[in-house]
Amino acid sequence: MTKENNPIKKNLIVFSWFMFVYVILFEFILPVNKVIPKPTLLFESFLHIWRDYNLVFAFTTTATIIYLALVSSWIQIYIGVSRYLKYYAYVENSLDSLRFLKYLTIFFFIVIFNFWFPNSLFAEFFFSFIISVFLTAKKLFEESKKVNEGYILVARNLGLSSYDIYEDVYWKASLPALSKYFRSVHYYLWGVVLIYEFIGNSNGLGSIYRIAITYNDFTALFVLAIMISLLIWFGDYLIGLINKKTIHWTA
């Protein structure tokens, strides 16, 4: 990697330029506006928002729900991979007839869950878990259809049971694509949980957003966005790191 192509340096330069333009534009030229808050105001808000909105508790709640749902859905898929794949073969056609559900949109399901279980952290976790399992399992089914026929022939020929073939061949062959996709599940789940909390208006960062909008706290919206994006970036980095350390093959 040459010095000129160093992506970190390149990103730093772009970021510095962005910051420079932002400070000049919104600190000195347009200090009062409703588009982007003034840098000094934003900086002050970073300190006050923790106390004003009980942010530690909100952060802990939202992050726990998201990452617990992600981890438990992965464990669930891993433990039940053979059953998932076996039963999918039986119900594949029936599932097709449920495709109309996608037109209801995720928003409807969030609203109805909030209606059924108001102010319930467990319901929020359960909803996130279901979404995560659904997305991961869907990807697993798609990937299982692309597994190299040679692997399956060999496993069958060597006398492995269908359960062993699902676990030792289908699962392993699908893992590279599945783990890559899991990063998308992570992003998606953040969006879903924030909307869930925003609608429920009781727990987590989503409800903080709602309070900030109610109080017309323009700066808080930006501070929250920056904090959440940092957390998502860190989660994404962690998932990427785990993938890199554990999945070293391409199927």
Partner: protein, 248 residues
């Protein structure tokens, strides 16, 4: 000796048309010998091997395997698992194994020192060696190779041809190979069957009367050339001959 008796394979298309893939295939896979089936692409070679290895049911006919050992198939597509290292690939599917024996097989196929290497992004030759060692680990009645060299470069292919000959001679392993390449079949085999397509049907069989010790000079020997001409002329009788590859 494994006997394939009157194997026929037919299936129906979605539109209800009957397609005959294999018709009345009868052949013998002699113990400790290398037998080849030479046939053009699309003649049902892979289907035949799947039936012999028990992975597919024939419409009619039987495969007689008098031994209790498995018939192992190595498919055309690389079949060593990229998520396992060489050692784990070789012992794949074994409930019990002796580490020393696995090591001996790894050494035999020329992968000594590569136990912990993964086959991901490695050459086809590397992956084929793993598949070969894994098949040997199951102490097979026969190893079936489905177009094994089709995507290999000439150097790798020559190495693999010699390796198969060596394993056959030293361990007495029975091989059945399907190929569309006449030259590699003649070089490897003790017996060849010629199969035509539409439907796949055996049209002749020949014993290969070449010296058992074969190396790269075999290709240029007079007896090899004569044999190749004789067998390729058999294909000239049928339309599918153009599909048989005569290159080295």
């Amino acid at each position: 000796m494994i006997e394939i008796k009157n194997i026929t394979k037919e299936y129906f298309t979605g539109a209800g048309f009957k397609i005959s893939v294999l018709k009345d295939i009868t052949l013998k896979v002699v113990d400790k010998k290398i037998t080849s089936v030479i046939a053009p692409s699309g003649s049902g070679k892979s289907t035949l091997l799947k039936i012999i290895s028990g992975l597919e049911e024939p419409t009619s006919g039987v495969v007689v395997n008098p031994s209790a050992q498995k018939i192992i198939l190595i498919p055309t597509a690389p079949s060593s698992f990229p998520w396992l290292n060489v050692f784990d690939n070789v012992k794949f599917g074994l409930n019990k194994y002796v580490e020393k024996q696995i090591q001996l097989l790894i050494n035999l196929v020329g992968l000594e020192g590569y136990n912990t290497f993964h086959c991901n992004n490695r050459s086809l030759g590397f992956r084929f060696r793993i598949s070969l060692a894994r098949s040997l680990a199951h102490n097979p009645a026969a190893i079936l190779l489905d177009e094994p060299f089709i995507e290999m470069n000439t150097q790798t292919k020559n190495e693999m041809l010699l390796l198969i000959r060596e394993i056959n001679k030293t361990l007495g392993i029975t091989f059945l190979i399907t190929t569309s390449n006449l030259t590699e079949a003649l070089f490897l085999s003790d017996k060849v069957y010629l199969m035509k397509k539409d439907p796949g049907e055996i049209i002749s069989e020949s014993d290969i009367e070449l010296s058992t010790k074969r190396d790269e000079s075999t290709y240029s020997s007079e007896s090899f050339k004569q044999l190749r001409n004789k067998i390729s002329s058999a294909f000239e009788q049928i339309e599918s001959q153009k599909l048989v590859n005569l290159s080295i």
